[in-house]
Symmetry: C2
């Protein structure tokens, strides 16, 4: 008899195994060709660094939960993870980030121009992996999977554009709903909604995924992103793998920051305003500490924590609807266990 829930340890074992297999497959998909030092060495860099592998693991488990096999979903999971790596390369350039997965970002190592180009190559290679696999599928299902992939990519780029636009235009008049709409595009489509939908599609041989799948994916992805923002504020840099406070230096519009913007009063408003109205290089460590103190004072971090907990409850309800027709298995237990895991993870 199997346990009704999956321990955190077992869940991390699944993630670790999937991560290892997907890394291997990504590196295998990169041509062993020239120019090595200016392109393919760069292309291999992020795919070779152990990541969380939540996206491919979610896709594979969902495919199996809906009756499919790993062979049907694995290359799709690899393509998702490769596109994710492409976006990481480009996002790190756009954000001027210094660290990724515990090592210098690609542009810190190779400069911006070569890294931008290597990110483009990862996009093309992700498409190649997906398309080659699509040939083995029923043509209508293949079209559907490829369409979903393009849609997912566009939603992600729309979200990224909005977040960058908010920052560039110093948009401050934002509510929690704006944040949710942002991360629906920027994070949830490619982190959770797409892996879930395409997993269900492949597993069931082309049946439309339950409508609740989008809701479940949205809540699960939102819990993931809110936690990610909190880790950037308070995490252990060695475990987290990115620089702590990076988001604060960028003045990223996280849920906690949006809460602060609406709660702040009196002289504190001027402190926040000064911080928001300068460019990143003008933000001093003292300024960052001042903002961090305000986030504490107005309980904005607590607000984000509570919000994530509420989202997780909604995710659990949506899970029951989305996976209600699937027989219980290690795979359904894994997907379900991801909900509390999103809240508790520290990297």
């Amino acid at each position: 008899m199997t346990a009704a829930t999956l321990s955190r340890e077992d869940l991390e074992k699944v993630l670790w195994n999937v991560g290892r297999d997907v890394r291997r497959a990504m590196l295998h998909a990169v041509p062993n060709a020239e120019p090595h030092q200016w392109l393919y060495e760069l292309v291999r860099s992020y795919p070779g660094r152990p990541g969380k592998a939540i996206r491919p693991a979610l896709c594979l488990a969902t495919c199996r939960a809906f009756g499919g096999s790993d062979a049907e979903a694995f290359p799709v999971a690899v393509a998702i993870e490769m596109l994710h790596n492409a976006f990481l390369v480009h996002d790190d350039i756009a954000d001027g980030s210094e660290q990724r997965r515990g090592r210098p970002t690609l542009h810190a190592d190779y400069g911006q121009a070569l890294s931008l180009n290597a990110g483009d190559a990862l996009v093309v290679l992700a498409n190649q992996v997906l398309r080659r696999h699509a040939r083995s599928l029923d043509p209508a299902l293949a079209d559907r999977v490829l369409d979903e992939f393009d849609t997912m990519a566009m939603r992600t780029l729309e979200g990224q554009a909005t977040e960058l636009g908010w920052r560039r235009d110093r948009v401050t008049d934002l509510a929690p709903e704006d944040y949710l709409d942002l991360i629906l595009h920027k994070t949830c489509w490619y982190t959770t909604i797409h892996p879930l939908r395409v997993g269900a599609l492949l597993g069931s041989g082309g049946a439309a995924p339950p409508p609740a799948m989008v809701h479940f994916g949205f809540y699960l992805g939102a819990a993931f992103q809110i936690r990610d923002d909190l880790l950037n504020l308070m995490g252990d840099e060695l475990v987290y793998g990115k620089e702590i406070n990076g988001d604060l230096y960028e003045a990223k519009r996280s849920l906690a920051m949006i809460h602060l913007g609406r709660a702040v009063e009196g002289d504190d408003s001027a402190v926040l305003h000064d911080y928001l109205s300068v460019d990143r290089p003008a933000r001093t460590p003292a300024m960052i500490e001042g903002i961090r103190a305000l986030l504490e004072k107005y309980r904005s971090i607590e607000f984000a924590h509570d919000y994530a907990r509420g989202i997780a409850i909604a995710a659990m309800e949506a899970y029951e609807e989305a996976f209600g027709d699937c027989p219980e298995s290690d795979d359904t237990r894994f997907v379900k266990a991801l909900v509390p895991y999103m809240l508790g993870r520290d990297s």
Copy 2:
């Protein structure tokens, strides 16, 4: 009775018509969605600017010359031009260019982060256009066309990586053969070889393109690129649409520069060395004029001119082999007339 050759005026009319139709189709392929001001407005920018349209025109004419119709090749031509626009956006960021098609570059108008993201969206949309069309083709032909598209994209990124790598690592020990190998990857694959090959594939309903097609495409594309480099050195900025001397400020390894590097003697070597060993911002107008004087003194520009003429002769021979089995038509005359046009164009 039709003339045996196409006048430059008639050739430009073909390019203008194709350009107009392809622009319309590219803009039509961009969703009318949000975020407009941070994404889709940017995505529309380059596709809305009249370009030369050599790539789509070559693809369409070759398809017809091999017995096909416009309906078979048009979306492919649109996808090629869209990918070209995506690469232009990213190249302009990598090169720090200021002007494109007579207007400020995208990153000059919108900043680097949003432009990088918009370039990514153009890649995804180009793929979408191609894939949607591929559904209407015979599956084996569709696979072939999609494979060729991915290959073309990778060759282009390899070439771009090599050129950026040469500049970043201040590689100076280069011969004309290195330059030809560079532009084979960076320019010829997507400007000429791919449009020609895929046009022939579609026109003939899937027959393998004549092997001479790659040779013809290589020589035609090389003539195009050498001319482009020369225009950057000596063209009329208003007609050319990019900033003159941009390549000199970047210390681009053009054929003329490579010739100079091998010909330079005595004190002149130190002048060239000083110029190559600093970063772009440190290159003063006086320094640029000094290099330009050396290019004159050592007849390096003349060398590049002569080289292009030799390449054009080789292109004419390869044309006869590649298109030898096609009945003469307006389309074959157009393709043939592109050879002298590449050498004579001033924009």
